[in-house]
């Protein structure tokens, strides 16, 4: 510790700490998070978990020397809350800042708490001892709202969680889905024009035999920054499905850390990352298999017309987790020379009777496919659009979810494709 303390803070780090303090450091827990942020600073490329997303340098460009904190704070205060339709019609919208919903469905309780994210440990062993996203979240005073879904409850329409859309926000929630329950959650990440990051840390416990679909719809304004993290525990014979759609933001990192908590659990992660201009987008996942007979499939598809994309996927299989079946794929369609995508899949396997695999591909539109479509009279731009759409729609299909949800995701993807072509 004493060694790190000697390192001078970068202007961005100082600015971030000052911003956190300006937002209020009223109680001990929060003060100690701010202290940790001041002490540890931001991770840089020599921290393995942040190698491709050098947060210190990237934040430096946003919160550079002359960024007056007052100006940032004023901008935040000035932003207005927009009226936003839910991603899926008929959803229950929960405002995490107020820990309240218009009307919670039966079997669901929503309450406020004073808890902050626990930054003393990190779910990613390649990160520093202090968890970066959690420490930022806690330093800015995000409270963990509690959502509980009672055992056996099934509700059809999703619960959509938002926090301070249109302003800089730092939110947290802890979601407990009881045994045998069935629920869909949408985490909506929007708005925010400030150079300072917003953040969100979520904890999800999927009870035994329960089924949860968690959708992350990240569509921040271009230029906005966000640090997100979802920590999931998947019970025995439970199914956890996730869809991460990144279609906005300037600097975004979203981490998903899932661990099995019983035999027979299934984890299905799907995601689409749409990149343009000078975006920097990072998806980092860790899956820990700690019980026998669990499965995981993970597929991310990326469309790059510009910017930098990062995928880091770690699958860890413990010695006792025999018969683990885990597959991970990251496929990138490079539509322009202006962008790039780095994929770093990793397997760490200690059990001997497992099936694990990973693959990463990157390429341009298949010329043979393009010719075939064009030979039927479809002009090149339209043929390319069809192929790009096919490439990403397949992942939505693999989610095997209700039509309304799949359609909402495809509509979001289409809107991006139309705007960026």
């Amino acid at each position: 510790m004493s060694v790190t303390e000697l390192r001078p803070r970068t202007p961005a780090e100082t600015a971030l700490v000052n911003l956190a303090e300006a937002a209020g450091a009223d109680e001990d827990a929060r003060r100690s998070a701010i202290e940790a942020l001041r002490r540890e600073g931001l991770p840089h490329r020599r921290v393995e978990a942040w190698h491709y997303t050098d947060l210190r340098a990237l934040m430096g460009r946003r919160l550079g020397k002359d960024q007056a904190i007052e100006a940032i704070a004023a901008k935040e205060a000035g932003s207005t809350e927009s009226v936003l339709a839910p991603l899926v019609a008929g959803s229950t919208v929960v405002d995490l800042d107020r820990s309240e919903a218009a009307s919670a469905p039966t079997g669901v309780s929503i309450s406020a708490s004073d808890d902050l994210a626990d930054w003393h440990e990190t779910p990613n062993h390649l990160d520093r001892p202090v968890d970066t996203i959690r420490v930022v979240n806690a330093a800015f005073g995000a409270r963990i709202a509690k959502i509980a879904v009672a055992e056996g409850t099934e509700f059809a329409s999703p619960i959509e969680m938002r926090s301070g859309i249109g302003a800089q926000s730092h939110a947290g929630c802890s979601v407990e889905v009881g045994n045998g329950a069935k629920a869909t959650f949408v985490e909506r990440i929007e708005g925010g024009g400030s150079p300072a990051p917003s953040s969100g840390v979520s904890y999800l416990t999927v009870g035994d035999g329960a089924e949860v679909l968690w959708i992350i719809d990240q569509a921040k304004d271009s230029g906005a920054a966000h640090l997100g993290q979802l920590n999931v525990t998947v019970g025995a014979d439970a199914t956890f499905k996730l869809f991460l759609l990144n279609s906005g933001g300037g600097l975004v990192r979203y981490e998903i850390h899932a661990v099995t908590a019983g035999e027979g659990s299934e984890i299905r992660l799907r995601g689409v990352n749409l990149l343009e201009n000078d975006q920097h987008l990072d998806v980092t996942t860790t899956l820990r298999h700690t019980y026998p007979n669990t499965t995981a499939t993970e597929t991310f598809r990326n469309v790059v017309t510009g910017g930098h994309g990062v995928f880091q996927g770690m699958i860890k299989v413990a010695r006792e987790a025999q018969k683990t079946d885990a597959k991970m794929a990251c496929n990138t369609l490079l539509l322009s020379q202006d962008g790039d995508f780095s994929a770093k899949p990793e397997l760490e396997i200690f059990a001997d009777d497992v099936q694990c695999g990973h693959g990463a591909t990157a390429g341009e539109i298949n010329a043979d496919h393009l010719f075939y479509l064009m030979s039927r009279g479809i002009p090149a731009p339209q043929a390319k659009a069809l192929l790009v759409k096919a490439f990403v729609d397949e992942v939505v299909e693999e989610l095997e979810t209700e039509d309304a949800i799949a359609e909402a995701l495809v509509a979001k993807i289409d809107a991006w494709l139309e705007r960026s072509h």
């Binding site: 010719f371 075939y372 479509l373 039927r376 009279g377 002009p379």
Partner: protein, 251 residues
Amino acid sequence: MLEIKNLHARVADEGTEILRGVDLTIEAGEVAAIMGPNGSGKSTLSYILAGRDDYEVTEGDILYNGESILEMEPDERAAAGLFLAFQYPLEIPGVATMTFLKTALNAQRKARGEAELMTPDFMRKVKAAAGELKIDAQMLKRPLNVGFSGGEKKRAEILQMALLEPKLCVMDETDSGLDIDALKIVADGVNALRSEERSFLVITHYQRLLEYIVPDTVHVLYKGRIIKSGDKNLALQLENEGYSQIIDEAA
């Protein structure tokens, strides 16, 4: 309708010459068959007609209704009425067959300045054409050609051809992979499309197809050149004697 004049072409990125002076004329309403040993350049010729950019034309010209098509994009050629039934139709995951058919049909109509086809009319058209070719409607719910058997893919090509109603149909070994009944069905489909204004270029290795789709002319392509032309009897002669005699004569 089609005039291929002294066509020389090579593989664009490595320069190997494949077509070495092809001359071939097809009149409106004519069915021309091209036969020839493996590797003689039949598929290459069909790709060049369709506008594939892997090949580079170094000499000669292709005139379609009197005008050169060499500078036209594949989609422009299709809209002008050219259709290629591929020897190996491609599987395109994620693209729904129906979406594809409708997009293609309407893109061509749009290029020709015609009104787009509305969904109910389109569905009716597809159903009728699929019915005639004995194509299961279930198959059309899958992504384009994905998981289709070899014969199903060939049938799907003819379905596309029937829907798009081209003026010049190039069929590259449509018969290979088809069972006996399917061959008959496909041939009936093609014969139904025969008309005064529509021409066919049928590439095949076998006389059998030509019993069903009787050609007006038969041409032998060898090492990138037409070495012999004749009527349907030339196909019969080849079936009995093979290529060696004709190749020797040409040498």
